[in-house]
């Protein structure tokens, strides 16, 4: 058996063992990325709907900022939060640095612009007739946003999927504010970095396969919901 075969065998035996270490890492990854996605969506989707519907001076600039935020390097988001959470930082009194809470905050920062940007794009793509009818309805701004969001919900789901995919897969932000502390703040991506550095290629690859499987399952579920929605209209 060649080297590759050996690594693969190690990887699958690592997964098959499903030891306490892997279980803890997987659980923390799902909780952190899940919470970050929820926060990002709860804030980002309404903001995106508003940004998609509103007409005001400076909207183009705001859209450009959100689009930039969609591509912000995770290490930069992590660094920003690190500065804020540092002992003498603005949020230093929270003492949240190197805790899962800080990791959730960092990843929510990444998820928010994605949820907002994808949603705003979907709303902006509503037909002229739909926008006209929305404006003509006897409803307040919040209800109008709700109707618009509901109208483009497959687009919103795409935003949720993109946000979750980004945060579960990122390593820079959680590494900086989480610190990759074993049993405390270690998640799938930081564990991969750790194992790879220590030449435990089998374990690293095993973690990578688990990461891919998680992303795949979440996306299958969301795509299924989307297709069902499109079929029903």
């Amino acid at each position: 058996m060649g080297f590759l075969g050996e690594v693969l065998r190690d990887a699958f035996s690592y997964i098959a063992d499903f030891g306490p270490e892997l279980r803890a890492i997987l659980a923390l990854s799902l909780v952190v990325a899940g919470l970050a996605t929820v926060i990002g969506v709860v804030v980002g989707v309404p903001f995106g709907v508003w940004l998609g519907l509103a007409r005001f001076r400076g909207r183009g600039l705001l859209l450009a900022l959100v689009n930039t935020g969609m591509g912000i390097p995770p290490v930069l988001a992590g660094l920003l939060l690190l500065v804020l959470l540092w002992n003498d930082g603005v949020l230093g009194s929270w003492e949240g640095l190197f805790t899962p809470g800080a990791m959730v905050a960092a990843q929510a920062l990444l998820a928010m612009p994605i949820a907002a940007g994808v949603t705003a794009g979907a709303v902006r793509n509503l037909s002229g007739d739909a926008q006209e009818q929305l404006a003509a309805l006897n409803v307040g701004a919040i209800r109008r946003g709700w109707i618009a969001g509901r109208e483009v919900w497959p687009g919103v789901v795409a935003g949720v999927a993109a946000a979750f995919g980004r945060v579960i897969a990122e390593v820079g932000a959680v590494l900086i504010v989480g610190g990759n502390i074993e049993g405390e703040t270690r998640v799938l991506t930081t564990a991969i970095v750790q194992e790879a550095r220590q030449s435990n290629l089998g374990a690293a690859l095993g973690l990578g396969i688990v990461l891919l499987a998680v992303a795949l399952m979440v996306n299958i579920a969301l795509t299924w919901a989307q297709l069902r929605g499109e079929a029903r209209v």
Binding site: E132, Q133, A136, V139, I147, E151, V233
Partner: protein, 340 residues
Amino acid sequence: MSEILDLRALSWVVGGRKVADGAQLALHKGERLVIYGPNGAGKSTLLRLAAGVVGDRDGSDIAYMPQHPYMFRGSGRRNLLLGLEASESNRAEVLAKRLGVSNVLGTPAARLSGGERQRLALARTLASSRPIVALDEPLAAIDADDRDAVIAVVGDAIGDRASLLVTHDRDVVVAFADRVAVMIGGQIRQIGVAQEVLLDPGGDDVAEVLGHQNVLIGTVVRSEGPLVQVSCTGLMVWAIGAQAAGSDVRVTFGAEAVTLHTVAAGGPEAAKDSARNHWLGTVRTILETGRLVEVVADVGQPVAALITSGSMDGMGLQVDDKVALSVKATAARTVTAAKQ
């Protein structure tokens, strides 16, 4: 009458050109104003300005139906009731029934036909309790056979509220309008009582889009085959129609469909033509417009005839001359009057 909506301040400029200008236009309480004009005249833009969809006006006093009503995800019922309050919802259900779409309320809106969508949108808009109703091309997607019935429901539902209707359909003007504003190239070119504007367009461009149109108000006396006989103030008119006796209708025929005879040459009794309508009267006005001459004769009420300058010269007509008018019944149509 007191003003309820002032459109005079509303205008919309694109590329330095006014594409819609509400100059002279105000809607009065209880009035039915129709903005008539060809496609691209700026009628819809003016309505959108009034409804506050574009521009700065707060349109919260207007129940507005856009030209292309959009159906959102969900059932016909969800779309019917969207944005309505409880009391309005009951009205909407009743109107949906009267407009023949109560059977599609459970159907996903995406599967509805254009006509069904328009009826649902009409029911929703008319159910609103806002004091002004604004409808953009309300009959555009309604089959010809159903138009009379739909316009009757629209008129009934609007009741004594003020309303603003945009159309490029002359029948809608005839059936619905108290006043009509003719819009061409972003400008209101003429505004006045609908019958008068239809009878006597103020300029060549207005006449071109509107035609010289006679409108007589009356009541159906009896029907005979495809025709009905309508009793209008001062005269009886045969016209195409299927309304039952007693129906309030408006009879409309173009001024070009009216033939003039000098009475000396025979008069109606001597006329052996196929026309069912022969009326005796007196010439009131003679107006030369280019190669055509518009003659308005009083035959119990004013009726306009459009003839060529050549015919005019041959007849040697003068104001106060006695004339006979004839109109083929097949050239005259009846439109059911929208109830006030």
